[in-house]
């Protein structure tokens, strides 16, 4: 018999108490559908989207104090969900190409009428051509329907900076993506 060699540490933290369960249930009822929808929109795969959604809510629990202090938990969650999914796509390396291939399969995930669907699809198609911050700004502005001020607050940038990024994004997509 040989003994174990020292390897990395796996920590099993204390499990949820009833307070945490209540917090999680509230998050589930208020935001579950929205966060899952965001993950599906970006990842285009129901199973991966569910994993990503769980990661987002796990972070909300870990950052409980700062999360509860947010004026808009919805903004926090959607920002984290967007960031997490975009990171995941980037970490897949050449996955942007595969991501486009999944586009057709994901068309039924959206809602809000034909025009909104077209805008969402157009935004998604153009994401691979811009940097990470512009990606997030475009999603919050065109898909979430945030105002410039709300996007700027969510990303911690000035309104002129966000406008500049969105105008650059609009140059790729035409009139439909103009910034008002």
């Amino acid at each position: 018999m040989t003994g174990p060699t020292p390897l990395a540490l796996k920590v099993v933290p204390p499990r949820p108490n009833e307070d945490r369960r209540a917090v999680l249930r509230e998050l589930y009822v208020k935001y579950g559908g929205s966060v899952r929808e965001r993950c599906r929109y970006l990842l285009k795969d129901a199973s991966r989207a569910e994993d990503a959604m769980q990661d987002v809510f796990a972070r909300a629990l870990v950052h409980g104090d700062s999360f509860r202090a947010e004026a808009s938990p919805l903004t926090w969650l959607m920002k984290i969900a967007t960031h997490h999914c975009l990171n995941q796509l980037r970490s897949e390396g050449a996955a942007w190409r595969k991501w486009f291939a999944r586009d057709e399969a994901a068309r039924s995930e959206g809602h809000g009428g034909a025009e909104a669907m077209e805008t969402r699809d157009l935004v998604r198609k153009l994401l691979a051509r811009v940097d990470a911050e512009t990606q997030a700004a475009a999603i919050h502005y065109h898909v979430d329907g945030m105002t410039l001020e709300e996007v700027a607050a969510a990303l911690g940038r000035s309104v002129p900076t966000v406008r500049k990024r969105l105008e650059h994004f609009a140059e790729l997509g035409g009139e439909e993506l103009s910034v008002r």
């Binding site: 920590v11 369960r21 559908g33 569910e50």
Partner: protein, 263 residues
């Protein structure tokens, strides 16, 4: 100015985040406006579909798994930063960790030698939970009585598969919360090739306090961690919610259980 409310404003209304005066105004508009009313209803529909497809218990279990995964990743990241600073001390630890098992087996390295104070299962199969990393000497946990952990102590899980082909491990705490350990999700792991004892990767630290039951299962066919978790929860309930009195899980294969008392 748009005649419609933005979809973000409607989504915040749906989530109950708008201040009362604004919520009343937006709700009033949505009731009179077909487009905004439809958008608002679509959020309610999406939430209803979500709740129908993902019951809260499944959602909660998934979030807890994600939490455990994130905690594990953060620990590994921290360990990588600490390692260069601890290089000298680590060399001493390596000697202790590697030398101790040889001492405990009388210096033999016979792969078929049964584990000391471990647990023999069917045929030559067996399992072992080894405790170390604290002030006390490294030791093998008994399966006959609860084993007290000292602060900072960690455990490694080993198994001798014999004819079994898959291995999995989980733990249950005093509240009945189940944590999948190996693997953290999906189906049980294929056993390592070769005879003799194999060690599951990483050492495990159980934080918090109270009793923790660790269960290692060897099976002939893969078993999903969800099914194992369900079996553990049933066993916990059947034991009157006393983790120290749980019976073996109702799953095929052979299993070994240990009760650890966290400091």
């Amino acid at each position: 100015m748009s005649a419609h409310e933005s979809s973000w404003t409607l989504r915040r209304l749906h989530a109950g985040e708008l201040p009362a005066p604004e919520a009343n105004r937006v709700r009033g508009h949505a009731e009179a406006c077909d487009a905004c009313g439809a958008t608002l209803r679509s959020f309610a529909d999406a939430q209803a579909a979500f709740e129908a497809e993902v019951p809260f218990e499944k959602f909660e279990a998934g979030v807890e798994r994600a939490r455990a995964r994130q905690a594990s990743t953060e620990s590994r990241t921290q360990a990588r930063w600490v390692r260069p600073l601890m290089a000298v001390a680590a060399s001493v630890v390596v000697v202790l960790v590697l030398a101790r098992p040889l001492l405990e087996t009388g210096g033999r390295t016979d792969p078929l030698q049964p584990p000391v104070a471990g647990n023999r299962l069917k045929g030559g199969a067996g399992a072992e939970l080894r405790i170390g990393g604290g002030v006390d000497p490294q030791r093998v946990a008994s399966t006959d009585a609860p084993e007290a952990l000292q602060p900072g102590e960690r455990v490694r899980l080993g198994y001798t598969a014999d004819a079994y082909r898959y291995v999995a491990a989980l733990s249950v705490d005093a509240q009945g919360e189940v944590t999948p350990l190996y693997p953290e999700s999906g189906d049980s792991l294929a056993v390592e090739p070769g005879v003799g004892q194999h060690w599951l990767p990483e050492s495990v630290e159980f934080t918090g306090a109270g009793a923790e039951r660790v269960v290692l299962v060897l099976t002939d066919a893969p078993v999903s961690m969800d099914a194992l978790g369900d079996a553990a929860r049933k066993a916990f309930t059947a034991a009157g919610r006393d983790v120290t009195r749980m019976a073996p899980l109702d799953v095929p294969g052979a299993q070994t259980q240990w009760v650890l008392l966290k400091p």
